[in-house]
Symmetry: C2
Subunit: 498 residues, 2 copies
Amino acid sequence: MTTPTVYEKLTARSREIALIGNASALLGWDQETYMPSKAVAYRAEQLSYLAGLSHQLSTSAEFGEWLAVAESEQSSWPADDERRANVREWRRDYDRATRTPADLVTELARVSALSREAWLAARQKSDYSHFQPWLDKIIALNKRQADCWGWTETPYNALLDAYEPGSNAADLTALFADLRQTLVNLLPAAMKRTGSVDPAKLRGDYPVEAQQKFNRAVAEAMGFDFEAGRIDPTTHPFCSGMGFGDCRLTTRYDEHDFTSSLFSIMHEAGHGLYEQGLRAEVYGTPLGGSVSLGIHESQSRLWENQIGRSRVFWEYWYPRACEFFPGLKERVSLDEFWTIINHVEPSYIRTESDEVTYNLHIILRFELEKALVEGTLAAADVPAAWNSRFKELFGIEVKTPNEGCLQDIHWSLGGLGYFPTYTLGNLNAAQLFRTALRQNAGLEQEIAQGRYTRLLAWLRQNIHQHGRRYLPDNLMKLATGEPTRAQYFGDYLRAKFS
Amino acid sequence: MTTPTVYEKLTARSREIALIGNASALLGWDQETYMPSKAVAYRAEQLSYLAGLSHQLSTSAEFGEWLAVAESEQSSWPADDERRANVREWRRDYDRATRTPADLVTELARVSALSREAWLAARQKSDYSHFQPWLDKIIALNKRQADCWGWTETPYNALLDAYEPGSNAADLTALFADLRQTLVNLLPAAMKRTGSVDPAKLRGDYPVEAQQKFNRAVAEAMGFDFEAGRIDPTTHPFCSGMGFGDCRLTTRYDEHDFTSSLFSIMHEAGHGLYEQGLRAEVYGTPLGGSVSLGIHESQSRLWENQIGRSRVFWEYWYPRACEFFPGLKERVSLDEFWTIINHVEPSYIRTESDEVTYNLHIILRFELEKALVEGTLAAADVPAAWNSRFKELFGIEVKTPNEGCLQDIHWSLGGLGYFPTYTLGNLNAAQLFRTALRQNAGLEQEIAQGRYTRLLAWLRQNIHQHGRRYLPDNLMKLATGEPTRAQYFGDYLRAKFS
């Protein structure tokens, strides 16, 4: 046996950390799907133990020593050697992990758990004051975390960078200003264009079993590999990649509206196709991992919206849906169906909003959380700030905290800097799909025939196979010739709704 | 914070090892239930990694040091201090683990995996010669393992002791000689007593969903807590305790015979009630674990056979089964039903055999595997030895290896010394149930009314709550006044079948 190189040692350790992380992912998936209720306390102990073990391996001194040696050795590697990307990303992860003191890790975990409970209690009474002291703590801990990680311009940048490597608040502000103008200008036309059909017309009786079969048929057509994945019911839909050859989607069912579970499955299967497209031979290292939330979300949004809410998609699937769901044909025509699933109207709840107003919800959150981290907004003033900015953006009055600043779980879990990645996902999805269409003549005709092989191959080639080789903006440049821009999403919406 | 005592350190480490073992148990359960097929290779890596981690923690030098200190400290503990049992069992586990060299652990795992494949291939062709070289390897590795652990009288004792602490081949030989005589004497009468009804009369149409509902109703009546457990379908039934508050049963369904899944659920729920009866406050230490296979199997057999195949049990459940399964009433009367589920007849396959002949199957395996380990029987001679001994015990000729020495998976997995625990389970079940009946006047009437609360309480009190506090034979003495004897099982069968 030859002595392993430091690169091989780093690879082995990285795979070890992934094995543990994926065992935790199964424990987490099981908790949401099949775990009996009395197991909850023990499960929490297991997850906490494995998280500690993973943190210990990720921050060990030997890992740092191997990494330093690998960094000095890489001067002799070819400039385009993909191992350089692993070394860069191991450094990124190692620095972030080692710069966070153990007491801060523990405190963030503790406060997040309690804060989530406080948020739930606040929502039950629709009373923000229950949550406010916890939001104060969350903000303070996030600021401390940002200081540990280090930042330029604003501490918010350090938090953003955790979810979207290489992004920053200044770029996002410019991007979102551009986008907001587009959205606000487009809103009246989009409402007019989609306001002619009452969405209630679609409501009917859609048995869960028929929905499951239909969803599976669509996910299979998309290319989701059910020998390497599955779908189970949960309270909230999610996608969990939990090891090579194992990616699980979940959804919930509305027996009166089959599109609810379908769009969530198309969304989660979009995430799942990314996971299933990661390279086997580098699995467990950064090269075999997903690059950022904004790129991950681009995959889910592309399938859910660019494809799933398009007219051509339903040219193929509407007749099939009518076979799966007797009565659908009598309820709505293909035109009416398209109009309903694209209905645009300002509303209070982000997760129920349409393609136009969705991003206004995100812009609002981005502005507020940035101000909270920078200290220009106090937790106590969140409801007032939320409601007044909401009125400006949407033109309607927020009446209760539950339809306002208490609606999302993210802040209560300690996640500040996460929201913007949703909009990045939407912008990236439009930009990627536009490029795919331009580079693949006849792609739209294939979609009209229910065939997505070439589209998936293009995504595999341009996004999935790269893992974390390039930072998100560079990946977008390689795939589309430009970093993320608001332009193409605007073009898409204008073409769709004007 | 005060410094933890060595006993506290041992407890914490023991719980840590249990957390990992239980994470592995979930990974294993998931593999048999819901895991997508392409995940198999990665899952094997995860299980192997966690097994290595667990072994490392179990054999660490510091664990040995803490243990030595605890052993010297316990002279100052009260004689009945239950912590003494933990120290004794930690010592037992530590010695066994540290006496097994790493290369032997790896080799046993490797050979078992390959040997299982060879066994499957041999079965496909019903050709023993494919398996024989692997059995040779398994025997050699088991002998080496026995030598590492240390033994007196016969190396087989070291293997036995792994599954049934404190047992030995000489005692078992005497016990089984006694039992064999009883069984052989009883067989003709039992065949006559149950031969009057054709078991095929029971065959009908039993939808899986109705079986699931009926099984659940029975398991709930037994006291199995579905908030701390569940039932899922698998190829082979099993019970897996995977953490406090989480015990999962599995079964398979025969749509033409509902008793197949029912008895396997009563069996597995018997195991499950033991797991659910372990003490919370010592969970993860020996005091909170099950003591041996022979005691575990006594719980499953008590519920499956002593209760589930009794006439009084069906006085309550037969009318209910007739409601769950339309047509049952017309097919068989209660008397006929009882006769069919107790049908006695010599047959080739252990797992399909009746209460009388089952233990003859075990006696055969015990004799052969003991001879294999002692070197008085060569792997090459197994088919001949099997077939001739089978003829003596059952009076029928084995015609193919699949209905003879290739039928069980145990040896291929490296498990020599395991089989006798099945018969110990049967003997213990009869002995325990007899004592429970004597100590609880009116218990049988309760069973006739579908009530098992007092029976379960008696098992909790006399078996479950003790965990590994007493060695199996001592536990039997405490519960019944005697170590395991063949007498009571013989009495039970005579009363039932004469």
